[in-house]
Symmetry: C2
DNA sequence: CTGTTAGCGCGTTCAT
DNA sequence: ATGAACGCGCTAACAG
C-alpha cells in the first residue's frame, strides 16, 4: 500500500479544508462549495459523496475564510457598559433574541462608562470587521457615533441621530420622571425627595428635569435639600438616604432615578426602622427583573429594555441589508406595585 | 494628468488595505506589515512615511485576514446559559476581566440550559475558529466536553475533566449544602425545608445531598414532605413556599438551593405575613450581588463566581499558549447576614 | 453540471 | 533593510 498524497494530516491536527473534502469525495473544491452553500445544482451522486466526506472528516467550514471572502463577518458588535448590570443584560437578551437563527453572533465589549475606553472598544470592533455596531448607552457623544456610522452601520440607545447608516432609539426619560413624581403627588405626597443619577448622564438629567417639572406643575415648591446625588448603583442609594436624613428636611416619599439605587434606599430605610411604604413611599425607574422580588415589590417606571434590544438589533440588520429601519418609539410606563401608598 | 492606477476607491468606501498604505507611503506591503507588527528593523524614514499614510487613510488592519493567516482568531468562545442571570454575568465579568488587554475578545453564546442547543452553539463557535472555549455550567456531559477538547482547548465549570487540552473547575457543592444546613442546625432548627434545583443539574443534586448528609450527621430524621422541587428561578421559590404550606408539615427554616429561588421564597413568605427571620429563617446559595440588598440581606453560601470566571479565562489562555493551567480550588463560604436567627 | 483559477487582506519566507 | 511572491481557506466568475 503506497503512501497516498496526504502531507500534513496528523502533524498538527488542523481542521480539514474544502480541498481535503474535495479530494476524499473525488470532486473539485467548487463542487464542495456549491453543496455547502446550495448555490447551484449538483448531481445527486456527487452530493452524496461530498456529504459523506464531510461527515467522515468532521468538516466544518472556516468562518474566518468565508468572512474574508464574502466581505461580511456575520458578527455585530455590542458596546455595553457593565456586563453585570441587569439594565444591560436585559437589553442584551433582546439583542440575542433578535439575532437567533440569523447567522449573526454578537461580539460584546464593555466600555465601563468611560468615553475613552468606549472609543477604544469601538475601534477594536471595527478592526474585527463587525457588520454593524449596537451601542447601549454610555458616554460617547452623538457626534462621535454619527462619525462611526460612516465606517459601519450603527444603532444606539439613548441618542438622537440623523445619518444614513445610523439609527437611534430614544426613550422619553423626562416624561418618565414626570410620571414617577406625579404618581407620588397624586398619592398626596408633597415632600418628595429625589436621588439623582450621574450628572454627565443625559438619562439621569432628564429624569431629574421631569421631577422638577411635575413638582412645578403641581405647584409644589422645589426644595434642593431634598435632592441628593447618586451614581446609579445600589450603594449611592444607601448613601443618599443617610444624607437625606442628616439634612433633616422632612420628606414622605423618595423617587430614585433608577431601580438599583432604589434597592439601596430600601435597605437603608429598613436599617433605620423606617417602613416602606407605611412610613415612606419609594419609586424607582427601569423596572429591572429583580424589582418584582423586592419586599415589597417595587413601584417603578418601566422601560421596555428587552424590546429595545430586540428592535435595536432587528433594525441594525435591516440597515446592514440596505432596508430602512422600522420606526419604534419605546413607551415609559408606570408600574404600580407595593412600595408607594396614599399619604394618610 | 493621467488617471492613476486606482480602481475602486470611493466606489464602496471599503476600508483601506496594506496595499493602499504601501502605495501612499511609497514602500512595499511587506514593509508596512513589518512596521505593523514590529517584526523587523525598518529605516526611520520609511517608518515615518508608513505611519503618516496609516494616519492619513485611517487604516485599521483587517483582523479577519490576520486571523486567517496566523491561524489564531484571538477570540475565545464563552458558552453561558442565560445572559440575564447574575449567576452567569458575575462569572462573565471575571472572564472579561482576565481577557482585558490580552488582545482576546469573548464571543458569547447562550445554550439556554438545553444540551442540544448547547452542542449546536459549540459547533458554531468552532466554525468561527475560536482559539478556546469556556463552558459555564449547562447540560453538556463531561464526555462531550472532553471530546470537544480534541478540537479546541476547553475549560469548564461544574465538571471534572481529565484531558490534555482541557481543564475544569469544580466547586464542592455538597460541602456547601452541608454548610447551609448545618448553620441552620447550629441555630437550633430541626424542621428545615429545602427547595431543590433541577434534577438533571449536578450542582443541585449535590447541594441536596449535602442537605441530607448534614441532617443525618445531626441525627435529624429526613422528612420528604419538607423537600420541594424547583428550577433555580425566582418563581419556583414562591411556588415552593405555597407547596410547603399546603403540605402542612411544620418547619422553621428554609434552605433554597440558590439565591434566585430564595428571593422568590422571601416574597412568598412576606405575602403570607410570615416574617424573616423572626418566624422563618432563610438561607440561599451563590451569594449573588443582589443578596446584599434584599431586606433583610440574605444569609447564603458564597460561591466565588468572579474569581472562577477570571481563573477559567486565565487558564484557558495558558492552555492555548501551551502552558500548564494553574491549580485552583474555589472555596464555598458561609456568609451569615440577616435572614437566619437562633430558634428561641 | 463541473473544474480551473483568481483573488479577499495579510504575514512571511526567500532573495537581493 | 527591503521587495516579490506565495498561501491561509473559501467563494465566485469563467470556461467547458
Amino acid at each position: 500500500m503506497k503512501t497516498s498524497v496526504r502531507s500534513r494530516r496528523d502533524e498538527k491536527a488542523s481542521s480539514p479544508t474544502v480541498l481535503e473534502v474535495a479530494k476524499v469525495a473525488g470532486v473539485s473544491v467548487s463542487t464542495v462549495s456549491r453543496i455547502l452553500n446550495g448555490t447551484a445544482r449538483v448531481s445527486e451522486a456527487k452530493r452524496q459523496a461530498v456529504e459523506d466526506a464531510i461527515a467522515a472528516l468532521d468538516f466544518e467550514p472556516n468562518a474566518l475564510a468565508q468572512s474574508l471572502k464574502r466581505g461580511r463577518s456575520m458578527t455585530v458588535g455590542v458596546l455595553t457598559q457593565d456586563v453585570s448590570s441587569s439594565y444591560f443584560t436585559e437589553t442584551l437578551k433582546g439583542v440575542e433574541h433578535a439575532l437567533t437563527d440569523t447567522g449573526y453572533a454578537p461580539l460584546i465589549a464593555s466600555g465601563h462608562w468611560n468615553a475613552e475606553e468606549e472609543a477604544h472598544r469601538v475601534r477594536l470592533l471595527i478592526a474585527r470587521r463587525v457588520d454593524g455596531i449596537i451601542i447601549l448607552s454610555g458616554n460617547l457623544t452623538s457626534a462621535q457615533i454619527t462619525q462611526y456610522s460612516g465606517q459601519v452601520p450603527v444603532v444606539a440607545t439613548g441618542h438622537r441621530i440623523e445619518a444614513p447608516k445610523a439609527w437611534a432609539i430614544e426613550l422619553d426619560n423626562e416624561r418618565g420622571g414626570v410620571m414617577a413624581t406625579r404618581h407620588l403627588l397624586d398619592l398626596g405626597h408633597r415632600r418628595i425627595a429625589h436621588i439623582r443619577g450621574p450628572e454627565e448622564h443625559a438619562d439621569a438629567e432628564q429624569r431629574f428635569a421631569g421631577y422638577r417639572r411635575a413638582l412645578e406643575e403641581a405647584g409644589v415648591q422645589y426644595d434642593e435639600r431634598l435632592v441628593v446625588p447618586g451614581d446609579f448603583y445600589e450603594t449611592s442609594g444607601v448613601l443618599g438616604v443617610a444624607e437625606l436624613l442628616a439634612r433633616g428636611a422632612p420628606f414622605t416619599a423618595i423617587f430614585a432615578a433608577n431601580d438599583q439605587m432604589a434597592y439601596g434606599v430600601r435597605l437603608a430605610l429598613s436599617r433605620q426602622g423606617i417602613r416602606v411604604p407605611d412610613d415612606i413611599s419609594l419609586i424607582g425607574f427601569d423596572d429591572l427583573p429583580g424589582s418584582l422580588y423586592t419586599t415589597p415589590p417595587l413601584t417603578t417606571v418601566r422601560q421596555p429594555l428587552f424590546d429595545m434590544g430586540r428592535i435595536a438589533a432587528g433594525n441594525l440588520l435591516r440597515i446592514i441589508d440596505g432596508d430602512p429601519p422600522e420606526p419604534f418609539a419605546p413607551e415609559v410606563e408606570l408600574v404600580v406595585r407595593e412600595t408607594t401608598r396614599r399619604l394618610r
